[in-house]
């Protein structure tokens, strides 16, 4: 958590603990930045929407990976499930966007719950492998069920009605940006409350020492399944947003690359602190937009190298580095 500004060590420990979970002003920085970006970068709003979607996706992964400690390389399964569900809903049922979000969330949640039910009994390599398998499974299914999903060509014709009947998607991406921003905002409120709740703390306990959690009577598997399902639902919402804002769903929403990419974004930002998703996704997406056009091979190589370096020297990601820098600055003054 952001403990950069806690000066009063004189406060009784109970009060300090209570305060550490309350909202701090610095946590509103991302929102100030998001609002500022709307005005400052108004020709980049489509990219901005995609960044917001990736932040949402990465935040959902943080719940599972950063807080509960479940190492997964298949999180795109939920993202893709939500994307396809929302896309198919828009094409065949209704272009109303808000109900499309619900459809995406439910699709993600169902896939998350069913896969969690089976794979959360395992751990280590077996668990990792099963997350990969579930991801591959869904990828294959989407590929083969081309009569619904459009297969390799993708799902076309996703047209979205105006939000609340008032705000239609415009060519500059303004509506999309605000739409994604508001969805992210509510998701953030929910996620923040979750990680700062007793439930959230117990997830950290499970990650830190599952033996101890069992020995204090914690229903470990139930907690893990709950967070896995919630995270899958949020990832599903992110997928739905993608389908609605780009009006297209392709097979790339379900690939291993997509799962790996979101893990990388989160690692770069810093896992287990909720805001790593904001920092990591933003930096990655901007860098990708600027650099991968120049040379996609170059991009892939440097991302790999950066990943290796981060693991070796900067395990807490950008936020971790910031933490260390601030501590050093504090010690000097």
């Amino acid at each position: 958590m952001f403990n950069w500004f806690s000066s009063s060590n004189k406060l009784a420990p109970v009060d300090r603990l209570v305060k550490s979970h309350q909202l701090r002003p610095v946590e509103l920085l991302p929102w100030a930045a998001a609002i500022a970006a709307y005005f400052l970068f108004d020709s980049y709003l489509p990219l901005g929407s995609q960044i917001l979607i990736m932040i949402l996706f990465a935040m959902s992964l943080d719940l599972v990976l950063g807080y509960a400690g479940i190492v997964t390389l298949g999180h795109a399964a939920f993202f893709g499930a939500g994307a396809y569900a929302a896309g198919i809903y828009a094409v065949h049922v209704s272009g109303e966007p808000l109900s499309g979000l619900v459809v995406g969330a439910v699709a993600g949640a169902i896939v998350g719950f069913l896969s969690g039910l089976v794979i959360l009994r395992t751990q280590g390599l077996t668990l990792l492998m099963l997350t990969l398998a579930v991801g591959s499974l869904l990828g294959e299914a989407a590929n083969k069920a081309s009569f619904i999903t459009g297969g390799a060509d993708g799902l076309q014709g996703v047209s979205i009605q105006p939000i609340l009947g008032l705000f239609s998607f415009d060519l500059f991406g303004r509506t999309a940006y605000v739409y994604c921003g508001i969805v992210l905002f509510f998701a953030w409120i929910f996620a923040r409350r979750l990680v700062h709740s007793p439930f959230g703390r117990s997830l950290i306990g499970i990650r830190e020492n599952v033996t101890r959690m069992n020995a204090i009577g914690s229903p470990v598997r139930g907690r893990l399944l709950t967070v896995y399902t919630i995270s899958a639902a949020i990832a599903g919402i992110a997928g739905a947003l993608l389908a609605q804002t780009t009006q297209f769903v392709g097979l790339t929403v379900l690939t291993f690359e997509r799962s790996g990419e979101i893990v990388i974004m989160l690692i770069f930002g810093g896992i287990g602190r909720l805001y790593g998703a904001f920092v990591g996704a933003t930096l990655y997406m901007i860098a990708q937009d600027q650099l991968s056009e120049i040379d996609p091979i170059f991009w892939e190589f440097w991302i790999g190298l950066l990943l290796v370096l981060v693991v070796m020297f900067a395990r807490g990601g950008v936020l971790g580095l910031l933490d260390r820098a601030i501590q050093r600055w504090r010690r000097r003054s």
């Binding site: 420990p13 109970v14 409350r193 709740s197 439930f199």
Partner: protein, 252 residues
Amino acid sequence: MSTTASLETIGLRKSFGALVVANDINFRLEPGARHALIGPNGAGKTTFINLITGRLAPSTGRILLGGEDITSLSQADRVKRGLGRTFQINTLFKGMSVLDNVCLSIGERDGQAGNMFRLVGARPTVIEEAYALLERLRIADEAMTLVKELPYGKQRLVEIAIALGLKPKVLLLDEPAAGVPSAESSIILDIVEQLPQDIAMLIIEHDMDLVFRLARRITVLVQGGVLVEGAPSEIARDERVREVYLGERHHV
């Protein structure tokens, strides 16, 4: 005895193939007991604890907690019914503060731990209780310190605090002073001595001074089976116990 035992095992047996690690153990822990479990290394003391807590499933036999059969219950369910334990090696949440560690166990007991809609601290009863517990164990000064930064002896106290946070009816202490420098172990012993009298306590220990200071009843476990059980004075005089520990009969 006409009273219901706090904890009882009947014919508890565990074998891995031909290797028998628990051999038809019949054991009773009375309410408010101060009961020590001793025996040479490899006698199966920790195995016995693991069978009671449910980390290990028995081959045959029954376990009763307060008269209720818990043999088929999960670890978590047994804890909910009043069973608490400490581990021989510190099993703590090293990256979290001492206060957080104890809050986790109190929260589980309290039922608040599953709440995902309220901020930690919105209703501070859990935190206050945790802090009070730390004060009683005299580690309140370290409340905000991360466990991994504490000396081993203090970590051992946190281990006990977590178990106490569960308000157990039966407390299993697996070598509470193990690995602690002798200067600090007296603190641990004081704490253990002052624990509420209504908790039934089973302590595994190697240090005989500790055992004779704390225990009102001793069970000697050898090769997975009960060798003898009785009051400390009886055990001290028992020839078989001496043999087991010293390996040969003493000649006067």
